[in-house]
Subunit: 419 residues, 2 copies
């Protein structure tokens, strides 16, 4: 008898959680991703800030799943789904292959959103992939190099201004670590400019940074950032990005590097499926993550808009994707076994954390809040624990230790670009 | 009084050796490089083979020289030298800056040479920079992915054929480590193809691989490679590269990946200086490394054709560049102090080594020859010792240990490319 075929698109946190739930079942699993690696996105900003190497937070999907003999991996891009005929179209180089499924899980994540100003992307890149991170690293490092060579004080000031748009966890973490890079790691290495005078701005449109955290933690984070020399602008709207920098309200601010951390847009899964999406492009899924009219098609993670059984919206973070993936896995198992559906999905919030430089962090566990150095250590332990792969854990710890003890950033390479 | 200004172009082994010799003198030193990092080229093939991360063998030049207060670093590209007016033109982005000098040292290295067939470069990339290495890594890994997805047995066979052109140390080291990657590291990770059946070919035009080593070591190297499953073709000339692969003699061989390790061409320093070059484009320098007619202009390393006081040709390897740089440094010091010139340059050969996979190496010290496992360990110790930067040494050891114990390659990322 042919085993049921489960096709999972996307090898992020959500997709891999489905694999974990199903790999012991009598099913054939195909994992399709357009990249060959699973990415530990929570630490991606450390690649952009020249602390970690890409390979330390990315592991080949094939290597992760090598031991699971009912799982095969395809490197290719899905652009079309036929839910009637039950297959997906996968682009592999110049060729297209059709992959049939009995159950389909779309876990294709999100990209940056520029709120209708897509031309800002080239001026203010966002941070979602390894290539994004190395591109931002290049930009920051090259700005210092250009400033060192310049004789024009105004241009130097512009080049030494880095603006991060968006004060969520990614923006806060970027701002803190870039401030440390400029103010400590690079300070002794230039002869003409003074990197410690770098202006690092964090621009948040809403009244406070870390808006999803309790108010006192937002305040603590803003204070810690200011101690690191970051200009924290709250309630400040970016109305334009241009060659010279950004416009806040109607004031032009000259900035050599602009980094976008202000919002995301789901992958176009809703369009592939021909179903309704919310404003952020997320598929409005049913309580069991399936889509209306198709019980065998599920959407999870950042691509799905979901409210759990208690009425809580599931946030677009790693644990949301993982829990969604586990739930979908359980459901498929139950259906295959002819058992009743599992209990309705309830999102369990393990806690939210954001780090601010090498000394401080904020953590919100609901029943407890933490800030300062202890929260930082906790953040470190949690992130190391969840890093996939033994080698990566050791390498990351080593890099952290080295950068902690020496203030140095070892991964300051400018690559893939003309000088 | 204005201090004499020493301009060094190129922050490779040669350029940095000049800095080391001069940094305590009452001089101003400017180091110009078009990349922001010094590269430990002897281990570059391990980046291409997914063992090491780029940052482990590359260190920012600025960071290396940060403590030397008479040294400044410029990121820019030199394309013109005026030896009459004593200045170099440096391209910095879209701008050009003129840098004056009292003494000039050109240590600008070499690129691959395709013997008049420059269009082969796109088909058969060579290995000189970090970007070269990640591009080759992408190609190899993508070939396996494409093969896994293909239904055409002939195409699969082509994709699973990797040809390395040139049997010098780089070619031998590439062939060994690629064979291990395919035959061991990847063997369990694919479902349809069998990576252990990958055909790895090493094609050498002269009668033996490692032609610069004693004959018995060439033989030992070829044997070790064959044990690893490499097809070693000696006396086999590549007459064409094309979309399908390579032509050996007049026989077309289908290959999905072709890597060029067959020859180098010096940087165009001879053209900048308007002096004579040999066939490989190297400047014919005087015994003291200066150029005819200009006592204050020196060329060292892979860009120079030099014969030492005993009539030995100085080889284009790291130790040749380092010893040339030291000699030039000593000479400049002597001239500045009004002392007689140092003793004529004598090249001291510390020994040549090449590694073949994880188990074997050959080493030639002149007074002693070694091969096998002991030579491998010695190779490892020597390379770790000379790696610049404490962090890099530890990280490299860790990666080697991990890849040695587990057979795995952790740095198998496909980045910067469309699927």
């Amino acid at each position: 008898m042919k085993k049921p075929k489960i096709v999972i698109v996307g090898a992020g946190f959500g997709g891999l959680a489905v694999v974990r739930a199903l790999h012991k079942a009598a099913v054939d699993i195909v994992v399709i991703d357009r990249r060959n690696h699973h990415l530990f996105q929570p630490l991606l900003y450390q690649v952009a800030a020249a602390i970690l190497s890409p390979a330390e937070i990315a592991t080949p999907v094939r290597s992760l799943l090598a031991g699971l003999h009912n799982v095969s991996v395809m490197l290719g891009e899905v652009n079309e789904v036929d839910t009637e005929a039950r297959h997906v179209q996968v682009n592999i180089g110049s060729r297209t292959e059709q992959v049939d499924y009995d159950y389909l899980v779309l876990a294709t994540g999100a990209r940056h959103a520029y709120f209708g100003n897509d031309h800002w992307e080239a001026l203010a890149p966002g941070l979602k992939t390894i290539d994004d991170a190395t591109a931002i690293r290049n930009r920051i490092l090259l700005a210092f190099e250009r400033a060192e060579m310049s004789n024009d004080p105004e241009e130097i000031q512009r080049l030494l201004t880095i603006a991060i748009v968006g004060g969520g966890p990614t923006g806060v973490e970027m701002a803190g670590t870039i401030a440390e890079l400029a103010h400590a790691a690079l300070s002794k290495e230039f002869r003409r400019i003074h990197p410690e005078q770098t202006r690092v701005m964090l621009v948040e449109g809403s009244p406070r940074v870390l808006a999803s955290f309790p108010e006192d933690l937002s305040k603590a984070a803003a204070e810690s950032l200011r101690k690191l020399g970051v200009e924290v602008l709250e309630g400040a709207r970016v109305t334009d990005c241009n060659e010279a920098g950004i416009v806040i309200g109607n004031k032009q601010v000259a900035a050599g590097t602009v980094i976008w951390a202000a919002g995301v847009k789901a992958s176009p899964a809703a369009a592939w499926l021909g179903v309704e999406a919310d404003q952020a492009g997320r598929v409005k899924v049913k309580p069991d993550f399936s889509i209306p009219g198709r019980e065998n098609v599920f959407v999870i993670g950042d691509t799905a808009a979901q409210t759990d059984a208690t009425g809580k919206a599931v946030p677009g973070v790693a644990q949301g994707a993982i829990q969604g993936g586990e739930h979908v896995g359980k459901q498929i198992l139950a259906r295959l076994a002819g058992k009743p559906a599992p209990a309705p999905f309830r999102y369990f919030n393990w806690g939210n954390m954001a780090t601010i430089g090498r000394h401080s962090a904020v953590a919100d566990f609901g029943w407890m809040k933490m800030k300062g150095a202890l929260a930082w250590w906790l953040w470190g332990v949690v992130h190391i624990m969840f890093l996939i792969g033994f080698r990566n854990r050791i390498a990351v710890m080593l890099h952290w230790l080295w950068s902690f003890l020496t203030f140095k950033r070892g991964v300051r390479l400018i690559t893939g670009t003309k000088t």
